[in-house]
Symmetry: C2
DNA sequence: ATGAAAGCGCTAACAT
DNA sequence: ATGTTAGCGCTTTCAT
C-alpha cells in the first residue's frame, strides 16, 4: 500500500534523473572531471576555470545535487552549527514554556542566521551530573554552545567552561566566575521599578515572583533596597512564573485589606499581567489605586489593559551580544561577560510623575 | 601552521588529562584493544566481553570522551536530527516573533526530545525559488524536515515534497495535495467563534486580522459563513498580526459609532488582546457592550483582563502529531495529513448563554 | 570475543 | 587549472 501513489507525471516516479547524482564523484564522472574539481567548483573557488565552474554548478543545480554536509563537516572539522541549550532545572513541567526564553531563542535564531550559523536546539533536564551539557559540548556536532538561563546549574556550567571554551551563557554574572555570561543587571532593574513606584506615591509595595532562580532573587533584592532606602514597606508574594495556578495567591494578597498594597513590582510581565487581571476583577483602578511595573518588556506588554509599565531587557541586543561573543570564542579569540542596563518603559500602569 | 592545537584550553588550568583522548583510536590504544572493540563497547553492544566493555566505558567517562557525531553520522548515514524550518514569507520584519509559532516550536522540541531526535532550527526568507527549503532537505544534515507554517510558499513545498518524502508541514490542507500537513480546521474555528458571539446576542460583527495567510483567510471565511447564516452583518478590519502599529486601525473601527460593532472575532489572541486594550481605553464594557473571541488559546489568553474567550488550537497535540508522522516517514512508512478540531474555550469576554 | 580492513562523501595538500 | 592522494573519525563486515 505504500507505493500506490503513481498519479501525476510520468510513470511512477515523476520526472527524476535517470542517473541519480548523489555524490561528488557521481557528478565528477558525469562532467568528465575529478571529484576535487567539482568540490572546488561548487565551493566557488577562484582557482577553477570560470567556464568549467559554471558548467559544473549548472549540472549540480539541474540534478538537485548538494554536497553531503556530514562528510564536509567531518573533513573540515567545522560544523557551522551552534548548539542552544535550555536547561529545565527547577521547572516542574518538562516543557519550554517561558515566553522570555522563547523570545530570546527567536532573536538568537535571527542573529545566527546573520552570522551564517545553524542552530541546534536541545531542551535538557539536568540530572545531577554535568552530562546534560557535556553531551552537547563533547559531541563534535557543534562549534560552540549557548546556554539559555543558568537554572540551578551554575556550578555545572562553571565547571564545564573550564575545559570547553566556546560557550556563552545567558544569565547572572558572579564576580570572578570563569564562564562568559550576558545578562541584565537585574538588581538595578528591581530598583528602578520600586523607585518609580515610590516616586509616584506608592506607600506599600509588593514584590511578586518566586525567588528560586538567581535572577528573580536579584530583582527582589534591588526592589527591597529601594524600598528600604525610602522607608517604604515591601512584602514578598511568591507568585509562580506563569501558569494558571498563580492567581489565587495574588488574589489573596491583593484582596487582603490589611496589606493595603498600592504598588507592585512584578518579577515578569506575565506575572504583572496576572496581577492586572486580578485587580480588574476586584475593581481596583490601575494605576489610580494600585500601580504596577512589570519586567522584560515582551511584545505583549504594550498590549495589556492598560498598557504595562515595565523594565525592559534588551533581548535582541542580548542575543546579538551572545552570538558575537561566541563567534569570537570559536574563532580563537576571547570574550568578556557583559551586563546590559535595563531601562524603565513608562506606559499606563504607573501614575504620571 | 595547522597543527597549532597543543591541547587547546588547558594552558591555564592544570587538571586536564595528560593524554587527551579525542578519538576512538586514542582510547583503544590506551585500553590496549582495537578501535572496533571500543566502538562496540561504547555502543553497548552485547558481543563484547562484559568486563572489557565496562572497563572501556569507565575509561571513556574518566577522560570525558564521546565519539565524534559527524563521523558516526557519516558512516551510518543517519543523523538523528530533524530540521525545523520557519519560512518568513510575508513577514515584514525578518524575525521569528509570532508567539504561536514560538509556542509550537517549544512543543516540537519537547516531542522530539522524547523521540530521541535533535532539532535543527532554520529561519529562512523565501527568495522566489525553492532553494530555502532544498538547502535543508538536500543537505544531508537531517533525517527529516518539519515546516512551521506555509507562509505563501504552498507551491514550493508541494513541489519539493514530490522528491523529498520525510517532511511534515504545519498548515492548511488543500484537497488532493501531496505533502503531509497537520493543522487546525480554521474555517470551523472561525465559525465557532462567530456563532458563539451571535448566540449571546451580537448584532454586528467584526473580523479582525489580515487575511494574507491562508489560515486567517479560512477563519474569516468561517466567521462570514456563520454571520450570513444568521443574517448578521460582518465587517473586516485588516488589523496586523501583532506589532504596535495595529492599534490605530482597531481604535478607528471601534470608535466609529456608525459601525456599532458589538462582537469581535479576532484572528489571534494577540489581536484580541489589542482590541481589549482599545476597548478599555474607550471605556466600552467587555463583554457587556462588546464581546470578543480570540484564536489560539496561547497561555496568555487566560491572563488578560477579563480572561479571553478563545478558539483553542491543540498545539501540544499538533506538535506530537507532526513528530509522530515524520518519524513514521523517516522509518519508511507512510503518513496522512491530519486536521485537528478547534474547540471554543469560554472565559469572560463573551456573555453567558 | 576481538582485530583488521574497508569505506561513508568530502576537502586540501601536493603534484603536475 | 586540474588530477591524485591521503585522510577526517567512526562503524561494520569479515576473518580469526
Amino acid at each position: 500500500m505504500i507505493e500506490k501513489d503513481n498519479r501525476g507525471a510520468s510513470g511512477e516516479d515523476g520526472q527524476e534523473d535517470p542517473v541519480h547524482v548523489r555524490t561528488l564523484a557521481d557528478l565528477a564522472r558525469l562532467a568528465g572531471v575529478s571529484a576535487g574539481t567539482v568540490s572546488r567548483a561548487l565551493a566557488g573557488k577562484e582557482l577553477v576555470n570560470t567556464e568549467t565552474r559554471e558548467r559544473i554548478q549548472a549540472m549540480a543545480r539541474e540534478h538537485g545535487f548538494r554536497p553531503n554536509q556530514m562528510a564536509s563537516k567531518l573533513r573540515t572539522r567545522r560544523t557551522g552549527v551552534i548548539g542552544v541549550v535550555i536547561p529545565l532545572g527547577h521547572e516542574k513541567r518538562q516543557q519550554i514554556s517561558d515566553p522570555f526564553f522563547l523570545t530570546l531563542l527567536g532573536h538568537l535564531a535571527d542573529a545566527m542566521t546573520e552570522s551564517g550559523y545553524d542552530l541546534m536546539l536541545s531542551r535538557t533536564i539536568p540530572d545531577g551530573t554535568s552530562d546534560w551539557l557535556e553531551r552537547i559540548t563533547g559531541s563534535g556536532m557543534v562549534d560552540g554552545v549557548l546556554v539559555i538561563g543558568q537554572s540551578d546549574q551554575w556550578e555545572v556550567i562553571e565547571q564545564v567552561s573550564r575545559s570547553y571554551r566556546p560557550m556563552v551563557v545567558w544569565g547572572h554574572h558572579r564576580a570572578g566566575q570563569h564562564h562568559v555570561t550576558v545578562g541584565t543587571d537585574n538588581e538595578l532593574g528591581g530598583r528602578l521599578a520600586a523607585e518609580r513606584l515610590i516616586a509616584s506615591g506608592a506607600k506599600k509595595l509588593a514584590f511578586m515572583g518566586v525567588t528560586q532562580g538567581i535572577e528573580i532573587e536579584m530583582r527582589h533584592r534591588g526592589a527591597r533596597a529601594a524600598a528600604e532606602a525610602a522607608g517604604v514597606p515591601l512584602v514578598h508574594i511568591p507568585a509562580r512564573l506563569a501558569g494558571e495556578e498563580m492567581d489565587p495567591l495574588i488574589q489573596a494578597a491583593l484582596s487582603e485589606p490589611l496589606y493595603e498594597i498600592d504598588g507592585i513590582v512584578a518579577a515578569s510581565d506575565l506575572i504583572a499581567m496576572s496581577a492586572l487581571r486580578c485587580l480588574h476583577g476586584l475593581n481596583r483602578a490601575v494605576p489610580r489605586e494600585i500601580q504596577i511595573v512589570g519586567f522584560d518588556d515582551l511584545p505583549l506588554a504594550a498590549h495589556t489593559s492598560p498598557p504595562l509599565s515595565t523594565i525592559r531587557q534588551e533581548i535582541a541586543l542580548g542575543a546579538k551580544l551572545m552570538v558575537d561573543k561566541l563567534t569570537a570564542l570559536i574563532g580563537g579569540g576571547s570574550a568578556q561577560s557583559e551586563i546590559t542596563t535595563p531601562v524603565l518603559i513608562e506606559r499606563a500602569t504607573t501614575r504620571t510623575l
